[in-house]
Symmetry: C2
Subunit: 114 residues, 2 copies
Amino acid sequence: MIEAMRALKHPDANEFVLERVFYALSDPVRLDIVRRLAEVDAASCGELDGGRPKSTVSHHFRVLRESGLVHTDCAGTTHMNTLRRADLDKRFPGLMGAILNQPVPDVKRSRGAK
Amino acid sequence: MIEAMRALKHPDANEFVLERVFYALSDPVRLDIVRRLAEVDAASCGELDGGRPKSTVSHHFRVLRESGLVHTDCAGTTHMNTLRRADLDKRFPGLMGAILNQPVPDVKRSRGAK
Protein backbone atom coordinates (compact mmCIF):
# COMPACT_ATOMS: atom_id res chain seq x y z
CA MET A 1 0.00 0.00 0.00
CA ILE A 2 2.81 2.37 0.87
CA GLU A 3 4.59 1.36 -2.35
CA ALA A 4 1.42 2.03 -4.34
CA MET A 5 1.07 5.48 -2.80
CA ARG A 6 4.64 6.29 -3.66
CA ALA A 7 4.28 5.30 -7.33
CA LEU A 8 4.76 8.41 -9.42
CA LYS A 9 2.41 9.42 -12.20
CA HIS A 10 3.62 9.41 -15.79
CA PRO A 11 1.67 10.50 -18.87
CA ASP A 12 0.94 7.99 -21.63
CA ALA A 13 2.87 8.60 -24.85
CA ASN A 14 -0.31 9.80 -26.60
CA GLU A 15 -0.71 12.46 -23.88
CA PHE A 16 2.72 14.00 -24.55
CA VAL A 17 2.51 17.66 -25.61
CA LEU A 18 5.29 19.13 -27.75
CA GLU A 19 5.27 22.50 -25.96
CA ARG A 20 5.64 20.76 -22.57
CA VAL A 21 8.62 18.80 -23.83
CA PHE A 22 10.21 22.06 -25.02
CA TYR A 23 9.49 23.67 -21.66
CA ALA A 24 11.15 20.75 -19.87
CA LEU A 25 14.20 21.16 -22.12
CA SER A 26 14.37 24.95 -21.67
CA ASP A 27 16.31 24.67 -18.41
CA PRO A 28 20.04 23.84 -18.56
CA VAL A 29 19.82 21.49 -15.55
CA ARG A 30 16.99 19.50 -17.12
CA LEU A 31 18.60 19.42 -20.56
CA ASP A 32 21.77 18.13 -18.92
CA ILE A 33 19.84 15.38 -17.11
CA VAL A 34 18.21 14.31 -20.41
CA ARG A 35 21.62 14.25 -22.14
CA ARG A 36 23.11 12.13 -19.36
CA LEU A 37 20.16 9.72 -19.35
CA ALA A 38 20.52 9.29 -23.12
CA GLU A 39 23.94 7.75 -22.50
CA VAL A 40 22.91 5.16 -19.90
CA ASP A 41 20.15 2.60 -19.30
CA ALA A 42 19.10 4.20 -16.02
CA ALA A 43 20.49 6.46 -13.32
CA SER A 44 19.55 7.43 -9.78
CA CYS A 45 18.65 11.01 -8.91
CA GLY A 46 21.89 11.20 -6.93
CA GLU A 47 23.91 10.28 -9.99
CA LEU A 48 22.21 13.06 -11.98
CA ASP A 49 21.78 15.90 -9.51
CA GLY A 50 25.28 17.34 -9.85
CA GLY A 51 25.32 18.05 -6.11
CA ARG A 52 22.36 20.44 -6.34
CA PRO A 53 19.91 20.77 -3.41
CA LYS A 54 17.30 18.02 -3.28
CA SER A 55 14.37 20.48 -3.38
CA THR A 56 15.62 22.02 -6.64
CA VAL A 57 16.32 18.69 -8.25
CA SER A 58 12.94 17.22 -7.19
CA HIS A 59 11.23 20.04 -9.06
CA HIS A 60 13.30 19.40 -12.18
CA PHE A 61 12.54 15.66 -12.12
CA ARG A 62 8.83 16.39 -11.74
CA VAL A 63 8.85 18.67 -14.81
CA LEU A 64 10.76 15.99 -16.75
CA ARG A 65 8.29 13.28 -15.70
CA GLU A 66 5.20 15.36 -16.42
CA SER A 67 6.43 16.19 -19.93
CA GLY A 68 7.00 12.50 -20.66
CA LEU A 69 10.76 12.79 -21.05
CA VAL A 70 11.71 10.76 -17.99
CA HIS A 71 10.32 7.72 -16.20
CA THR A 72 11.13 7.37 -12.50
CA ASP A 73 10.89 4.04 -10.69
CA CYS A 74 10.81 4.03 -6.92
CA ALA A 75 13.01 1.11 -5.82
CA GLY A 76 13.05 1.29 -2.05
CA THR A 77 14.72 4.56 -1.12
CA THR A 78 16.35 4.96 -4.53
CA HIS A 79 14.59 6.57 -7.50
CA MET A 80 15.85 5.18 -10.80
CA ASN A 81 15.33 7.31 -13.88
CA THR A 82 15.20 6.40 -17.54
CA LEU A 83 14.76 8.47 -20.70
CA ARG A 84 11.47 7.41 -22.33
CA ARG A 85 13.19 7.28 -25.70
CA ALA A 86 10.90 4.69 -27.33
CA ASP A 87 7.75 6.57 -26.28
CA LEU A 88 9.25 9.89 -27.38
CA ASP A 89 10.33 8.49 -30.76
CA LYS A 90 6.86 7.06 -31.28
CA ARG A 91 5.10 10.31 -30.39
CA PHE A 92 7.61 12.78 -31.89
CA PRO A 93 9.49 10.94 -34.68
CA GLY A 94 13.01 12.22 -35.21
CA LEU A 95 12.81 14.88 -32.52
CA MET A 96 14.91 13.38 -29.72
CA GLY A 97 17.56 12.26 -32.21
CA ALA A 98 17.88 15.81 -33.52
CA ILE A 99 18.02 17.26 -30.01
CA LEU A 100 20.58 14.79 -28.69
CA ASN A 101 22.71 15.31 -31.82
CA GLN A 102 23.30 18.95 -30.92
CA PRO A 103 26.83 19.46 -29.62
CA VAL A 104 27.14 20.37 -25.97
CA PRO A 105 28.81 23.80 -25.60
CA ASP A 106 32.40 23.51 -24.34
CA VAL A 107 31.69 25.64 -21.28
CA LYS A 108 29.11 23.10 -20.07
CA ARG A 109 31.33 20.13 -20.74
CA SER A 110 34.15 21.60 -18.68
CA ARG A 111 31.75 22.69 -15.95
CA GLY A 112 30.22 19.17 -15.82
CA ALA A 113 33.68 17.61 -15.59
CA LYS A 114 34.58 19.44 -12.39
CA MET B 1 18.35 58.34 -36.84
CA ILE B 2 14.81 57.49 -35.85
CA GLU B 3 14.99 54.39 -38.05
CA ALA B 4 18.26 53.38 -36.39
CA MET B 5 16.74 53.76 -32.94
CA ARG B 6 13.80 51.62 -33.94
CA ALA B 7 15.96 48.81 -35.29
CA LEU B 8 15.42 45.75 -33.13
CA LYS B 9 18.26 43.73 -31.71
CA HIS B 10 18.84 40.20 -32.93
CA PRO B 11 21.47 37.75 -31.67
CA ASP B 12 24.11 36.44 -34.08
CA ALA B 13 23.74 32.77 -34.99
CA ASN B 14 26.76 31.86 -32.85
CA GLU B 15 25.03 33.42 -29.83
CA PHE B 16 21.94 31.19 -30.11
CA VAL B 17 21.40 29.04 -27.00
CA LEU B 18 19.54 25.75 -27.34
CA GLU B 19 17.65 26.15 -24.04
CA ARG B 20 16.42 29.61 -25.11
CA VAL B 21 15.13 28.21 -28.39
CA PHE B 22 13.27 25.52 -26.44
CA TYR B 23 11.84 28.13 -24.08
CA ALA B 24 10.63 30.18 -27.04
CA LEU B 25 8.94 27.07 -28.46
CA SER B 26 7.37 26.09 -25.12
CA ASP B 27 4.40 28.41 -25.62
CA PRO B 28 1.61 27.35 -28.02
CA VAL B 29 1.23 30.88 -29.43
CA ARG B 30 4.94 31.14 -30.22
CA LEU B 31 5.14 27.60 -31.62
CA ASP B 32 2.18 28.48 -33.87
CA ILE B 33 3.92 31.66 -35.10
CA VAL B 34 7.07 29.65 -35.92
CA ARG B 35 5.02 27.04 -37.80
CA ARG B 36 3.25 29.74 -39.82
CA LEU B 37 6.50 31.56 -40.63
CA ALA B 38 8.00 28.28 -41.86
CA GLU B 39 5.36 28.23 -44.61
CA VAL B 40 5.92 31.78 -45.95
CA ASP B 41 8.81 34.08 -46.86
CA ALA B 42 7.71 36.77 -44.40
CA ALA B 43 4.62 37.88 -42.51
CA SER B 44 3.53 40.96 -40.61
CA CYS B 45 2.73 40.76 -36.89
CA GLY B 46 -0.90 41.39 -37.80
CA GLU B 47 -0.95 38.33 -40.05
CA LEU B 48 0.44 36.21 -37.23
CA ASP B 49 -1.22 37.54 -34.09
CA GLY B 50 -4.47 35.56 -34.42
CA GLY B 51 -6.40 38.58 -33.13
CA ARG B 52 -4.60 38.52 -29.79
CA PRO B 53 -3.95 41.78 -27.86
CA LYS B 54 -0.92 43.71 -29.09
CA SER B 55 0.75 43.71 -25.66
CA THR B 56 0.63 39.90 -25.46
CA VAL B 57 1.86 39.43 -29.00
CA SER B 58 4.70 41.96 -28.61
CA HIS B 59 6.03 39.90 -25.71
CA HIS B 60 5.88 36.71 -27.77
CA PHE B 61 7.73 38.31 -30.70
CA ARG B 62 10.40 39.61 -28.35
CA VAL B 63 11.00 36.11 -26.94
CA LEU B 64 11.13 34.72 -30.48
CA ARG B 65 13.63 37.40 -31.56
CA GLU B 66 15.86 37.04 -28.51
CA SER B 67 16.08 33.27 -28.97
CA GLY B 68 17.15 33.72 -32.60
CA LEU B 69 14.09 32.04 -34.10
CA VAL B 70 12.61 35.15 -35.73
CA HIS B 71 13.97 38.24 -37.45
CA THR B 72 11.79 41.35 -37.44
CA ASP B 73 12.27 44.18 -39.91
CA CYS B 74 10.67 47.53 -39.20
CA ALA B 75 9.32 48.80 -42.54
CA GLY B 76 7.55 52.03 -41.69
CA THR B 77 4.70 51.15 -39.37
CA THR B 78 4.71 47.49 -40.37
CA HIS B 79 6.94 44.89 -38.75
CA MET B 80 7.80 42.06 -41.13
CA ASN B 81 8.90 38.78 -39.59
CA THR B 82 10.92 35.93 -41.02
CA LEU B 83 12.01 32.60 -39.58
CA ARG B 84 15.83 32.56 -39.36
CA ARG B 85 15.92 29.11 -40.85
CA ALA B 86 19.39 29.34 -42.44
CA ASP B 87 20.95 30.62 -39.19
CA LEU B 88 19.10 28.01 -37.15
CA ASP B 89 20.14 25.18 -39.47
CA LYS B 90 23.74 26.35 -39.28
CA ARG B 91 23.74 26.58 -35.48
CA PHE B 92 21.52 23.56 -34.71
CA PRO B 93 21.78 21.15 -37.66
CA GLY B 94 18.65 19.08 -38.21
CA LEU B 95 16.75 20.58 -35.28
CA MET B 96 14.25 22.88 -37.00
CA GLY B 97 13.50 20.24 -39.61
CA ALA B 98 12.65 17.72 -36.89
CA ILE B 99 10.52 20.26 -35.02
CA LEU B 100 8.60 21.44 -38.08
CA ASN B 101 8.03 17.82 -39.15
CA GLN B 102 5.96 17.13 -36.05
CA PRO B 103 2.27 16.94 -36.92
CA VAL B 104 0.09 19.75 -35.57
CA PRO B 105 -2.60 18.34 -33.23
CA ASP B 106 -6.07 18.40 -34.85
CA VAL B 107 -7.52 20.61 -32.10
CA LYS B 108 -5.02 23.34 -32.97
CA ARG B 109 -5.60 23.09 -36.71
CA SER B 110 -9.37 23.53 -36.28
CA ARG B 111 -8.87 26.37 -33.80
CA GLY B 112 -6.50 28.12 -36.17
CA ALA B 113 -8.94 27.75 -39.07
CA LYS B 114 -11.73 29.62 -37.30
